[in-house]
Symmetry: C2
Subunit: 296 residues, 2 copies
């Protein structure tokens, strides 16, 4: 497991490491003028996650923080409950596997085994389980200051990242007030948020005063994961899906999308927004900081 | 199955239908000034795909062209071979299922059943099968004109689409020369390309003179799907992953990324590029046509 970085970039506990050798590769291509050009591209590796003796899933990942990814994935799928005691997380770089061991074997392994036998694929099953986990869930009504949202976006957008280095990657940031704490990136759509969930589990971090910021779209799956993690606010530069909005309203998640410069749209939890910032004082994004998913 | 549209937007056989009632929903939110605002958001529905008696996967989709999605998914996963005779495709809107029936039951169902029993989830399995399907595959060395690439990007970017209407969606376009033929969009990452594969199967469309244009990233999975479809060129506004580049080079897929205005990078198949356009004559993108994934 890599050590947390601290200090620069606005006091992150974990910040992206765009210069890490294992995460990007330089390849030679040709640009529009026909000139040879070297560009950095993101690595993408399979990682197979086991829960005790049971193989659960093979995820495509950049390969940093495999321990957090495995823990967070299992937690967000509801396969690892708050009552389960994790006795070990063993990552084997060569075999590209990570094994999460618990004190008592969980019933989730049995459940998964049974369901996959009848359904043929865990994709639907896993999703069904996630929806199940939301039954009756209501998130705490934590206030969200717009001044914090603007400050977070500004800090995150200028943080050196694999996205700025090589593109083709998603980022998710766990934040508290106006401070981004843990900034994870991954080529896999949901791995970045799973790595944050794994970090929160490992460190026993409370969720109720946090905001999750993502570069990706606010789909049902993203909303469900955030709710499963107990985080009461989710913000993104990208847009929404109808089901994502519906679930956010059901569980009381503050949902903010299309953040760009001074603009944003709040589609759930408006009553918790503390509008303490003057939007006209917020500068427009610099072109180089425009992230994917941003819309004019 | 919806009827193909023809005529406007540069002669598409199928173009996006951004005004279709079922594909977006209007929701009320609040903008950065605190004013109530109505925005269109993308619908997202589960669709469970069966192959004969076997449940294969539940995909999250916008819900148009479920027949093409099911056929293309099964084809791209290698579960439906060129020798398999499809006797029926039954979509049930209420049950959110689509059943693909073949004359002889395929061994893929048996294979899937066996593999999922041991692996617990079809995600890894399915991916393994896809890699298997690439063994020894070499795509035809079809030339690709840069004048066509620029013309395609210009036409596609100004085509009315769900992306321009509501955002939060991926698009993939099957093209021939400078003409975009079939433009599919979907909230699911790979559904758009699967729908194109299903359309090609249903219409018996040849692949070897086609170009696939996508708004998404050029990951391993995207490259594998394109190769499985027999299409020799893949272009995108987004970036690359290292494994995507590696596989493209192995199978001889022309791979062009980071297309924006006059700029692009070719990371595989440079020898097939016919550089017949003057890049300096290509106008910059208008801001409203900038797609997600575009980088300065």
């Amino acid at each position: 497991m890599q050590l947390a970085q601290q200090g620069d970039n606005g006091d992150y506990l974990i910040a992206p490491d765009p210069k890490a050798v294992r995460l990007t590769r330089t390849v030679t291509g040709f640009d529009h003028t026909g000139a040879a050009t070297e560009i950095a591209v993101i690595e993408e590796r399979p990682l197979t996650i086991f829960l005790n003796g049971q193989e659960i899933v093979t995820a495509m990942t950049i390969g940093d923080y495999p321990d957090y990814l495995a823990l967070g994935f299992l937690r967000n799928q509801g396969m690892l409950g708050s009552g389960d005691v994790v006795t070990g997380v063993d990552y084997d770089e060569e075999l590209e596997t990570v094994v999460v061991r618990t004190e008592a074997s969980t019933n989730h392994e049995e459940k998964l085994k049974k369901k996959t036998r009848t359904s043929g694929c865990a994709v639907g099953t896993v999703f069904g389980d996630m929806m199940e986990g939301l039954d009756g869930l209501t998130l705490p009504a934590t206030p969200v200051r717009t001044s914090d949202l603007y400050a977070l976006a500004a800090t995150i957008n200028r943080t050196p990242s694999l996205y700025l280095e090589a593109g083709a990657i998603h980022g998710t940031v766990l934040c508290q007030g106006n401070r981004p704490l843990v900034y994870m990136e991954d080529v896999g759509r949901h791995n970045a948020v799973d790595k944050i969930a794994g970090w929160m589990m490992s460190t026993g971090t409370e969720a109720e005063d946090k905001i999750l910021y993502t570069t990706g779209r606010l789909t049902s799956e993203m909303v469900i994961k955030t709710a499963m993690m107990g985080i009461p606010a989710l913000a993104s530069r990208s847009g929404f899906t109808a089901w994502g909005v519906e679930i956010a309203r059901e569980v009381g998640l503050t949902l903010i999308g299309r953040m760009r410069g001074q603009r944003f749209v709040c589609l759930s939890g408006e009553d918790r927004l503390v509008r303490d910032a003057d939007p006209t004082a917020v500068p427009e994004d610099a072109a180089r900081h425009r992230r994917k998913g941003a819309r004019a």
